[in-house]
Amino acid sequence: MTLAPDPFGSGLGGGQAQSADRATNLGDILERVLDKGLVIAGDIRVNLLDIELLTIKLRLVIASLETAKEVGIDWWEHDPWLRGDAERRELAQKERGRRELTAAEQTQEQGQRAHEEAEEEPEPRRARRGKNS
């Protein structure tokens, strides 16, 4: 088991578990403070802020989703426990993933046709699966 920094620190065995000086992975912190936590609209004009925050969040989250799609790990899409905005993003991603898949299949077919036409060519040239977003 990998122990991320100080997981058991002062917390193991009861009492108030949180320790203030956790040296924690930045990704874990960003994931929580940007994407989790209670959303409250303060009385300062936050509309602009929301938009800007969203761009960062999306950059991080979408990057994560793309990676997950690439390796085909998407089972949480079907998980009833996953709700909220993540699900809406997933839906958008799913649609996009479908388009990519179609493109990839077309590419594959083209690759096979090219191969059949040039049987002696040892390594048929295949276009890389593109990200046509």
Binding site: A4, G14, L26, G27, L38, G42, G72, I73, E119, E123
Partner: protein, 269 residues
């Protein structure tokens, strides 16, 4: 409150908890304060309105270094508050023009905060991430006959395609095995928890690992179940070769600040 100051909200705690401010510095290096309103206490800091005005802040948030520092500072304040009692963590960059705005929030949403606090009392969030090494997984799954290619009339090109297909098939079975493991890990951990959340896998640029992240979950665990929960995580690490399970925490209950089923968007206003 002077006109040049803005109030940054970190977390909401119980008013009957120790209401002295946590001894940590906030996102602007400021002293953290508390505002108590009835049964609730807000943990806040006064920050320079020019440095934290919406326009300036928007630019800052695009800067990953600034963001990283602010995120760590915000988390440190929330964690310090959580060390003293139940908290509802508030998302980064929640700003009010004055203390009055925060007090109004505490009055207006008293019931919401109280039920959110009740749900996390005596519990902590633990993060569990599971990784697999794709190569070792594919190797262990690929059957020896996958490399066997019929020879004869087919020719070298077909042989190549067959190899490609075998490779692809091995990769696909590795993926489905990984998904299966992730579901089983989650299914075994859930009974030990008060609540759980599944998060999307993180980008390798954030994790710094090339292994596949097959599970990224958060579990809200009662303090008296911390030990069995940790023991089970340790046990799951040994469960499969090529599987690594990483435990992080204890975290303030960031993933459980919003009740299950509530849409974050509905919370505005």
């Amino acid at each position: 409150m002077t006109g040049s100051q803005t109030v940054w909200l970190y977390a909401v705690t119980r008013g009957d908890a120790d209401s002295s401010p946590p001894a940590v510095r906030g996102v602007a290096g400021e002293d953290v304060r508390v505002l108590t309103e009835g049964p609730l206490t807000a943990v806040v800091g006064s920050v320079d309105a020019r440095r934290f005005g919406p326009d300036v802040l928007a630019g800052h948030l695009e800067n990953l270094d600034w963001l990283a520092t602010a995120a760590r500072a915000h988390d440190a304040v929330v964690a310090a508050a959580a060390a003293r009692g139940p908290v509802v963590p508030v998302r980064l960059a929640t700003l009010f023009s004055s203390d009055d705005g925060v007090r109004e929030l505490l009055r207006g949403r008293r019931g919401d905060f109280q039920s959110a606090l009740a749900a996390v009392t005596g519990r902590a969030e633990w993060g569990v991430k599971a990784y697999v090494d794709p190569d070792s997984l594919a190797d262990s799954l690929s059957a020896p006959d996958a490399a066997t290619v019929p020879t004869g009339q087919s020719g070298a090109g077909s042989a190549y395609l067959m190899r490609r297909r075998a490779k692809l098939a091995a990769r696909q079975s590795a993926q489905s095995a990984a998904g299966e493991w992730a579901q089983q890990i989650h299914a075994r951990l859930r009974p030990l928890c008060a609540a759980s959340r599944l998060h999307p896998a993180q980008d390798p640029r954030l994790t710094g690992r090339r292994d596949w992240m097959i599970l990224n979950a958060a579990y809200l665990v009662d303090q008296d179940r911390t030990e069995p929960f940790h023991a089970l995580v340790r046990q799951l690490t040994e469960w499969q070769a090529g599987l690594d399970v990483e435990l992080t925490g204890p975290w303030p209950p960031y993933s459980f600040a919003v009740p299950e089923g509530a849409q974050p968007g509905e919370r505005h206003g």
